[in-house]
Symmetry: C2
Subunit: 139 residues, 2 copies
DNA sequence: CTCATTTCTGTAGCCACTACAGAAGCAAGA
DNA sequence: TCTTGCTTCTGTAGTGGCTACAGAAATGAG
């Protein structure tokens, strides 16, 4: 066997994995604890050794979390992809999540408009007319 | 003293207060525990009796929470209003919070755009080309 | 071999509630 | 007066998604 046919194992411990993926060490262990990331093999001393497959999975988890999917949705997505028959279900979940995002954007936008109005009316620095202070005064 | 000059006490127990203000009973007690709502007097049996002033304060807290102010900001707002010299500080806090809301709206909007794109590209139902499934495949 | 760094487990804290359990108060009807 | 059923009480634990320790053990470079 020539040396260049030996496959590179690409194993790494949790620190470098954290640095490469941008996921906190504690968070990686947390994902393992809740069954999101498979438990990797260990050294004789008990330290975790991650493979490229683990790294891929972790990056996927991070991306989905950044996109706002809750943990349970990420778990479902992983199950779908692992199960093979993915895209239809994945699409449905994505659309549901997108609807949720849009609703939240709408909520926040309405709130922002009210805050803007409050700030404007408060900007004079006078207590009478300030909608916040007034809300607490006896009527 | 004619009967109509007697001020109405407007006292009520926690259940009606909850119903009137729309704040959960448990949440009302929680606000008391964390010092946001003053502890009201009690009956001999130990039940809380709320006055109109408590009710006003609670409605204020609810409104500020609905507008997304974190508890500590609500606490600060109450302190400002109680302290008298309110509006300038209130304005500053409001503007800070508004900035925060706008940042969050921006974040969510960016995320929604990405999700939309993902959903579109996933809509064909074919696994190749699906950006989610691809992210997990070995490269 | 020494020493600094990394990693380990387990637990507790964060925010803003929410959900109990089990006991006790209270009001209306018989 | 007594019962019945509703309300309220305290205290604790759970939620989501991490984050922050403490104290011990493993590891790798010099």
């Amino acid at each position: 066997m020539p040396p260049n046919t030996i496959p590179r194992v690409e194993a790494q411990s949790i620190g470098p994995l954290s640095a490469q993926t941008g996921v906190n060490i504690e968070t990686i262990r947390y994902y393992e604890r809740i069954g999101l990331l498979p438990a990797p093999p260990r050294t004789r001393g008990g330290r975790r050794i991650y493979s490229a497959e683990h790294r891929r999975r972790l990056v996927f988890i991070r991306r989905m979390r950044e996109l706002g999917f809750p943990i349970e949705s990420v778990r479902a997505l992983l199950g779908m992809v692992d199960g093979g028959h993915a895209c239809a279900d994945v699409h449905a979940l994505t659309v549901r999540h997108l609807d949720d995002m849009r609703r939240r954007i709408g909520d926040l936008t309405r709130v922002a408009a009210i805050l803007e109005d409050m700030a404007d009316r408060c900007a004079t620095g006078e207590t009478p007319g300030c909608p916040i202070v007034e809300a607490l005064s006896p009527d």
